[in-house]
Symmetry: C2
Subunit: 897 residues, 2 copies
C-alpha cells in the first residue's frame, strides 16, 4: 500500500482524479504540479491513513509512515536545497487538512513547522530578517497550542488565549496593528506563549520531528471535531471519508513588502460574470486574508477602481491608498493571470486559487472548484456550454440542484426599496433578501424563528447557528471572508465588511449612524446590493432570468422524466405552467370543499343520516365541483391532470367549537346536538390511520360517483369547447387490490352512464396512490388493475417509520441531534425503508403491467436527492409544488445516467 | 381433458384422493364403489367445469360435455336396465353439488330428474305406486322451481311459495301431514305448482334432457349464491375452487314402508365415544331427515332406549312408537353396521354416512369425514392413536385447531345449575354454555352483543346470523338437523328439538311451561345437557381433561417451536404455566404502572420539568418495579422472561377529567394548571405514531436506566435465592438500528454499573420488537445488534395496512361484508403484506446473525393459521395470552412439516 504521494517541481505521483485518496487539495496540488504550475513541493498522506488512525491510533500510524515520511522530506530537501531541522539552512513545512470535498475552515492547519529556539535564530540570519523569523515562530507556537494542544477560548465572549496576549501587548505598547510589533516584542510574545502552554501542563516541543508528527495526527483528529461533524451533517458528507494531510514547503508572504498572499476566482463567484478577480495582502500569510482581520486590496485594477467609486474615494487617492496587484506588481499579476487561464481551461470550471508571493516569486498553494452563488453557478455553466468548453452532460455536472433554490429566493419589493433608506452599506457578499431579528451569537440564533446574525466576523465554530439564520451581517472581512464564503455555500444572504457598524457584544447591541439596534429588533439585508435596512421589508418572488431559462430548457431536452405539479386550483395550475410543469400530478379535491360555497353542502352531506340524504347534498356539490375541474382543465389545455378523490377524514370538514357548531345547526335547520353528536361520532383516536381515502369511497360509494361525474362532465364540457384534456382519476389510500377494484368499478359504471347520457366519450385513466406499505408490497396485484401509480411518499413515510408527522416534533429534532437519523425523512426520502418499498413496488408493478405509468407526488417529488433516487429506479414522472418545479426540472436532468 | 368420471357397480374412474377435481362427495362415491360398497351408479362432472362455466358460460360447457354426458348416462342405463326419458321403464337421476370441502346445505340439489307428464304415469305403473310417482313429480317441480328458476319466499316472515301451496292445501283438506295427501291431491298440487311457475313467466320443461342440463348449470351457479359465498368467507374456502356436480341414479326411500332413509356416524360426534349411531325415517327421502321437519327415529337400539328414558316413555311403548332401525329392519341394520366398520377402517376417521333403503335394498349415498365437536375430535384422534390406527402425524391431521377452543369454552357454574330449574329441555346437540338475549331472526342477531337465536328450525340462509350468535335453540329437528350440524361445526352451543316450545315469529316471542319470553330477554343454554334456563347464569372456565392433556403432551413432543405467554404479573405467569407455557414472550411493564402504588410516582415523573425531577420520581418507582419483576421471575423459575421497556405514550398515564387533574395537582402539591398544561402538551394527533416506545427511552434515557436497573437487580436478587432466570430486555418500536444501538448502549452501561456495585453477574439478552415496517425492511442491520426479534404483529398490522385498530370499526366490518378483505387482519395474520414483512425480516435477520432468536408476540401468536405461517418461515417461538396457549401448542405441532 502507498500512503504518501509526492508533488513538486513539475512532477507528481498523484493527479486530480485521486480526490478520494488524496483529498481535493492534495489531488489538485499534484495536478497543478504536473501541468507545470509553480507549487511549493511537498506530499500528501492519504485519507486511508486517517481511517487507520481512527481505528488503530497513533503508534500504528507512525510505524507505518515513518520510513516514507523521511524519504519524502528528503526529496523536498533536495529540491529546495534546505534541510528540515537545520539551523543553518532551515526548511519549514505547513501541515494542512484536505478532504474529498472542500470543508473550508472546518479542520485544522499548522504553519511554519520546523522552527525551535535555535532554528529561529538561523532562519533570521539566513533570511536576513530576524523579525520575520520571530513572527513565524510565534505563529507556529500559537497554532500548535491551538490545534495540537487544543487551548480554546474560556467562553464565547472571550477571544483565543493567544490573541488575548497579543491584544494585551498592543494595549501595553500603545500600538494598533500586528505589524507594529518589533523583533524584541515578538521574542517577548514567544516567551508569553510558551508560558501559557506550560501553565496548562503542556510544553512546546523543540524537536522539529515531534512537531511534524503531532501536527499530522492533530489534523487527522480534527476530522472528528465538533464543527467538522456538524458541517458534514449539514452538507451530507459521510463521516467515513476521512481527511488527507498535505505537508508542504513553507513559502512566505510575510517576508517583506515584495511578498504577499491572496485568493482569486477565475470568474465572479457572486454573479458568474467572466472576469478574473480576487483579493490580496502584502506582507501577510494566507490565513490573514481568509480571517478577515485586515481588509485586503483588489487584484485587478478594474475591481480596485470600482471599490474607489463605491467608497467615494477619488481615483488618484485610491491608487495610492489601495492599489491593485495589477498596479503594484504588474509582472506577478501577468503570471498569475496566465496561470488562472491555464487552470480554468484545464478544469473547465471556475477556480478558486490561493497564492503566495515570496520575494517576488509566485507560488500557487491551492486551486479548487470555486464556491459560487446559484446565479453564478447557472451563468458559468451556461457560458461554458455556449463557448463549447463543456457539453450538455457536463453542464449538469456543474449544477448543484440545492443551490437552484437561491434563484427562486424572494427579493425586496421595488417600492419598499424606493421608500426606505439603508442604515448602512457593506459588500454584496451573497445575494438575496433576508429579513429577521438581530442576534449576536451563533448559538442564540434558534431563539428566533427568523434571525439575522450580526458579527464582527464569523468563524467556523458558528457554522450551526449560521445554518439556522436568514442571513449574516459582518463588520470586517471581504468577499472571501468566512461569512461570505459560507453564505454563498449555503445559499443565504450576506452583507460583509459593513465597517461603519460598532458592535457591543456584552450589551448585545450595535450602533450605526448614531442609532443603536438591540437584539430582537428586525433588520432587512439586501445581499445583492449590500444595503442594510431597519425593520421588516416586504419581499416578492424572484423572476426566472434568461440564463436560468436556457438552463431549464436544456434540462427538459436532456431529461427523460416528466415534471408535474401538485395543484388544486386554476391559479395553482397557471403558476405550475409558468414554472414549466408538464401536467398536474396531484389535484387534491378536498381543498375545494373548504371554499365558502362548497363547505355548506359538504357539511350537509356529512350530517345526513342515510344514503338518500348524502346523495341530496352531493347533488348540490356536483355543479360546483364540475366548475372547479373545468377551470383547471382549461388552464392545462393538452396536458394530463391527475385528480385524487376525497382523501381526508370527514370530521375535518365539521366545525369544532361550540359556537360554530350551533351556527351550522341553525344554518342547516337541525338541532345543535345533532352536529355535536356527529362530531363526537367521527372523532378518531388516530385519524391518520382512520376512515379516510378510498375507505370513504368504499363505504359511501355515492361520494365517488359524484366526484367521477364532476370530473368527466367537466372534461366533456371543455372538450366540446375545443380543449384537449386527459383526466386521470386517482384513488387514494389503497392498501388492498380489492379496495381499488371496487372503486374502479364504481368509477367505470358512472363514466359509462355519463357517456350514454351525453352520447360522447373522453379519454381517461384510473389509477391509484401507493402510500400504504401494504400497497407497495402487493403492487403487482394492484398494477394489474390500475393505469398508473403515484407514490404518496408523505403518508408512506409516516407508516413505514410509524411517525405521525403532526407529532414527530416531540422526538425528531432530538433524533437528528443524536444522529439517530441522518435526515428528516419527511424532507429527504429514506433510502433504506421507504426507498426499498418504492423500488419493490416499481419492479412488481412494471412486471405485472409494463405500460404502467409510475410517479411520485409526495413532497419528496421536489427534493433533488429524492428525485435522483426515483429517477434511478426508473420513474416516469415526479410531481411537486409549483414553486419547486424549476428545481425538479434540473434535478431530473442531473439524474439522467 | 377428462371432465366426467363414472362410478357404480363396484367400479370407478375416480378415487378418494381426487377431492380437488371431483369434490368430496364425488371422490368418496368413487372410493366407496371401488371398495365394493353398494352405491347408486352415476358420474361426477369435475370442479374444473364449474370454473369454465363461470368464465365462458352455458353454451361452451354444454358443447364440451354433451358427448360424454350421453355416454355416461348410457352406461348407467345399461347397469340399471332402465332408460332415461323412457315412459315404460324410466330411469331418474339426482343432481347434487359437491365441493372440495364439505359445505353442508350451502349449494343446491335437484332430485327425481327425468319425470314429465307422461313419464310420471309410466313410473306409477312400473312401480305399481302412482302416489309415489306423483309425490316424486311434485318434488321435482318444486325443486326445479326453487333451484333452477330461483322462486324464493317473498320476505323473511313468509315461507317458500311451494310450501305455501302445500300448507294451504292441508288447511283446505283439514290434514296435518304430507303423508295424508292422496294421489289425486298430489296431481292437483302439480297443477298448482306448474301454475305458480307459469305465473312467474317461466315454464317447467317436459324434456328430461333440458331438465338435466338446467339442473347441472344451476348447481354450478349455486357455487356463487350469497349463502355459499358467506359460508366460504367464514370457513376460509377460496372462491376459485368451484363445485363438482354428481349425477346419480335415484333410489327411493319414499317408495313404501320397506323403504327409508337415514344418516349415521361411526362414532358419537358430540362426545367422540366409539359407538355407531344415527337417525332414520321410514318412507322418506333423504332431504326429510336433514331438514328436521319430521323427527326421526334412532338407528341403534341402544340410542332408542336412551331416547325413551330421556322422554319418560316406558320401554314397551317406546318399542312400538319409536323402534330403532336395529329392531325394525335387523338385516338392513346388520349390513349397514358392517359397511360403517369397513368405511371407518378404510378412512381411519369417524365417518358421516347417508343411506337409503329402497324396498329392502340398502344403498349408500354418501360418506364423508364426520363433523364433530372439539371434545369428540380430541377423543377420536387419541382413541385412534392409542389403537395404533394412526400415527403421531396423523393425529394432528385430524385436529382442527380452531375447534380446540371449544374445549376451553366456559361451562355453567355447578352451584348455579343446582339452584336453577330448566324451563325446558331439548337435544344436547352441541356442547358448551351460552348466555345471550333472545332473538328470532338470523339477520337481527347483530342487534345484541350476545344473542341466542331461537327458531322453529334453522336454514342455510341463516348462516351469517348464526355465526354471530352465542348459541341456537330450535323447536324441531334432531342431532343431525341443520342447527345441530352448523353449531358443532362452528364450535357453538346448540339445544335442538325442544318441542315443547311454541314460537310466535310475528310477536317475536315464544311460550313454554305457560310462560312467554320475548325478544331481548336473557336465556342460558347448556348444550352439553340440552337444558334451557331463563336469565343469565354464571359460567366458569373449562378444565383440561385427560384426552386433551395427552394430546397437548403429544403436541409438545412433536413440535419444534416453543410456546411462550404474554404475561404481565405473577398471576398471569402462574396461569401461563398451568396451560403449559415454556416462558414469557412479552411482559408489558406499563400495565404495572397503572397499579395504585405506582401511578403516583409515574405521574410525578411525567410532570417533572427536567431530568433531575424525572430521576427523583423514577427513584421511587425503582423498588416497586423491582418487586414486580421478582414476583414474575420466581414464578417462572428456570424459564426465559422477555420484558418490554415502557411503550405507550406518556399521556395515557395522566388523568383526563378536570376533577381528576385537580385531585392530582393537590396530591403532588403543584398547580392544577400545570397538570392541565402537561396534558395539553402531551396531546397528539395520532398517538399510535407518536412519542412512544423507544422514542421515550431515547429522549428520556433515565426511564430506560431505571427499568433496566429494576430488571437486573430483581434477577440478581432471585438468583441469590437459588432461582434460575434469564431476563430478556426488549426495546419496543425500533424503526432504525441507531435507535436500538443507543438504547442498548444505555442498557449495557446500566448493567455494567450494577454488576460492579453488586459484585456479581447474571445472564441476560437484549433484543427488540419488530413492529414497524421499516424495522422489518432493515432487519439485517438491527439483527447485527440484537440478540432476538419479537414481531409485534398488532402494530405491524396497523402500520402495514394504515389501519388504526381503535378506529377501524368504522370501515372494517363493511370491508369484510363487501369481501374487500377476506379476514380481519387483526385476527388472522395478513399473508400478502404483513406476512411478507415477517419472512423478509426473518431471512435478513438470520442471514446477518444465524443465532438470532425469532418469535412473535402480537395477538396472532395465538391464532392457528398465523402460527402455521410463522412456523413455516422458521420462527423459534410464538407468544400468546395464557388462555390461548393450549391452542398454540397444538397449532405448532400441526404446523410441523
Amino acid at each position: 500500500m502507498k500512503y504518501i504521494y509526492y508533488f513538486g517541481n513539475k512532477e507528481a505521483e498523484g493527479s486530480a482524479k485521486m480526490k478520494d485518496l488524496l483529498g481535493g487539495k492534495g489531488a489538485n496540488l499534484a495536478e497543478m504540479s504536473k501541468i507545470g504550475i509553480p507549487v511549493p513541493p511537498g506530499f500528501t498522506i492519504t485519507t486511508e491513513m486517517c481511517e487507520l488512525y481512527n481505528q488503530k491510533g497513533k503508534d500504528e500510524v507512525i510505524s507505518i509512515l515513518k520510513k516514507d515520511l523521511k524519504s519524502n522530506i528528503k526529496r523536498v530537501e533536495e529540491i529546495m536545497g534546505k534541510q528540515f531541522g537545520s539551523a543553518e539552512n532551515p526548511l519549514l513545512f505547513s501541515v494542512r487538512s484536505g478532504a474529498r470535498k472542500s470543508m473550508p475552515g472546518m479542520m485544522d492547519t499548522v504553519l511554519n513547522l520546523g522552527l525551535n529556539d535555535e532554528i529561529v535564530e538561523g532562519l533570521g540570519a539566513k533570511m536576513n530578517n530576524p523579525r520575520f523569523a520571530w513572527d513565524s515562530y510565534r505563529r507556529l507556537i500559537q497554532m500548535y497550542g491551538d490545534v495540537v494542544l487544543g487551548l480554546k477560548p474560556a467562553d464565547k465572549e472571550s477571544v483565543n488565549p493567544f490573541e488575548e496576549i497579543i491584544e494585551k501587548m498592543k494595549e501595553q505598547l500603545g500600538i494598533k496593528s500586528d505589524v507594529d510589533f518589533t523583533t524584541d516584542d515578538l521574542k517577548f510574545m514567544v516567551r508569553l506563549f510558551k508560558k501559557l502552554i506550560t501553565d496548562q501542563g503542556y510544553s512546546f516541543p523543540q524537536d522539529p520531528w515531534e512537531q511534524m508528527w503531532e501536527a499530522i495526527l492533530a489534523v487527522f483528529r480534527s476530522w472528528m471535531n465538533e464543527r467538522a461533524v456538524i458541517y458534514r451533517r449539514i452538507e451530507g458528507i459521510p463521516d467515513a471519508w476521512g481527511t488527507a494531510v498535505n505537508v508542504q514547503t513553507m513559502v512566505y508572504g510575510n517576508l517583506n513588502e515584495r511578498s504577499g498572499t491572496g485568493v482569486a476566482f477565475t470568474r465572479n463567484s457572486a454573479t458568474g460574470e467572466n472576469f478574473f478577480n480576487g483579493e490580496f495582502l502584502i506582507n501577510a500569510q494566507g490565513e490573514d486574508v481568509v480571517a478577515g482581520i485586515r481588509t485586503p486590496g483588489q487584484i485587478t485594477k478594474k475591481e480596485a477602481v470600482e471599490w474607489g467609486r463605491r467608497n467615494n474615494i477619488p481615483e488618484e487617492i485610491r491608487q495610492k491608498k489601495n492599489p491593485s496587484l495589477e498596479e503594484l506588481l504588474p509582472d506577478i499579476y501577468k503570471e498569475l493571470y496566465s496561470i488562472q487561464e491555464t487552470l480554468e481551461n484545464h478544469y473547465k470550471d471556475m477556480q478558486d486559487l490561493e497564492f503566495t508571493i515570496e520575494e517576488g516569486k509566485l507560488w500557487l498553494l491551492q486551486t479548487r472548484t470555486g464556491k459560487r452563488t446559484g446565479e453564478a453557478m447557472v451563468k458559468i455553466a451556461m457560458d461554458l456550454y455556449r463557448s463549447k468548453a463543456i457539453n450538455e452532460r457536463e453542464v449538469f455536472e456543474r449544477i448543484d440542484v440545492e443551490k437552484i433554490e437561491e434563484l427562486l429566493h424572494p427579493v425586496f419589493e421595488g417600492q419598499a426599496l424606493a421608500k426606505n433608506e439603508p442604515i448602512t452599506k457593506g459588500l454584496p457578499a451573497a445575494p438575496g433578501a433576508a429579513v429577521g431579528q438581530i442576534v449576536f451569537f451563533a448559538d442564540e440564533v434558534s431563539k428566533y424563528e427568523k434571525a439575522i446574525l450580526v458579527r464582527l466576523e464569523t468563524s467556523p465554530e458558528d457554522i450551526e447557528g449560521m445554518n439556522l439564520a436568514q442571513g449574516f451581517l459582518t463588520v470586517r472581512g471581504g468577499m472571501t471572508s468566512h461569512a461570505a464564503v459560507v453564505a454563498r455555500g449555503m445559499g443565504k444572504c450576506c452583507v460583509a465588511g459593513a465597517g461603519s457598524i460598532v458592535v457591543d457584544y456584552k450589551k448585545r447591541s450595535f450602533t450605526v449612524g448614531g442609532k443603536t439596534y438591540v437584539e430582537g429588533e428586525w433588520l432587512s439585508l439586501d445581499g445583492s446590493t449590500g444595503s442594510v435596512y431597519e425593520g421588516s421589508l416586504p419581499t416578492i418572488d424572484a423572476d426566472i432570468r434568461e440564463d436560468f431559462k436556457e438552463l431549464l430548457e436544456l434540462a427538459d431536452r436532456v431529461s427523460n422524466i416528466k415534471v408535474y405539479a401538485n395543484a388544486d386550483s386554476p391559479t395553482d395550475a397557471h403558476t405550475a405552467l409558468k414554472f414549466g410543469a408538464k401536467g398536474i400530478g396531484l389535484c387534491r379535491t378536498e381543498h375545494m370543499f373548504f371554499e365558502a360555497d362548497k363547505i355548506k353542502p359538504m357539511r350537509e352531506m356529512i350530517l345526513a343520516s342515510d344514503t338518500e340524504g348524502r346523495e341530496r347534498a352531493l347533488a348540490k356539490l356536483l355543479p360546483l365541483q364540475r366548475e372547479d375541474f373545468k377551470g383547471i382543465f382549461r388552464a392545462m389545455n393538452g396536458l394530463p391532470v391527475t385528480i385524487r378523490l376525497l382523501d381526508p377524514p370527514l370530521h375535518e370538514f365539521l366545525p369544532h367549537t361550540k359556537e360554530k357548531q350551533e351556527e351550522l345547526a341553525l344554518n342547516l335547520q337541525i338541532k345543535a346536538g345533532q352536529v355535536r353528536e356527529m362530531v363526537e361520532h367521527l372523532k378518531e383516536a388516530n385519524p391518520m390511520l382512520g376512515h379516510r381515502g378510498c375507505r370513504l369511497g368504499n363505504t359511501y360509494p355515492e361520494i365517488t360517483r359524484m366526484q367521477t361525474r364532476a370530473i368527466i362532465e367537466a372534461a366533456i364540457s371543455v372538450k366540446e369547447a375545443g380543449i384537449s384534456i386527459l383526466p386521470e382519476i386517482m384513488v387514494p389510500l389503497v392498501g388492498e387490490v380489492e379496495e381499488f377494484r371496487l372503486q374502479k368499478q364504481i368509477i367505470l359504471e358512472t363514466i359509462e352512464d355519463i357517456f350514454r347520457e351525453k352520447k360522447t366519450t373522453v379519454d381517461y385513466k384510473v389509477g391509484t396512490m401507493i402510500e400504504i406499505p401494504r400497497a407497495a408490497l402487493t403492487a403487482h396485484k394492484i398494477a394489474s388493475e390500475a393505469d398508473f401509480f403515484s407514490f404518496g411518499t408523505n403518508d408512506l413515510t409516516q407508516m413505514t417509520f410509524g411517525y405521525s408527522r403532526d407529532d414527530a416534533n416531540t422526538f425528531l429534532p432530538i433524533y437528528l441531534e443524536k444522529n439517530i437519523l441522518k435526515n428528516d425523512p419527511f424532507q429527504v426520502l429514506d433510502r433504506d425503508g421507504v426507498g426499498e418499498l418504492l423500488s419493490t413496488a416499481y419492479t412488481r408493478g412494471k412486471e405485472a403491467k409494463p405500460a404502467l405509468e409510475v410517479g411520485i407526488c409526495g413532497e419528496h417529488g421536489g427534493e433533488p436527492s429524492s428525485i435522483k433516487f426515483v429517477a434511478d429506479i426508473g420513474f416516469d414522472y415526479v410531481s411537486c409544488s409549483p414553486y419547486r418545479i424549476p428545481i425538479a426540472r434540473i434535478a431530473t436532468a442531473k439524474a439522467k445516467k
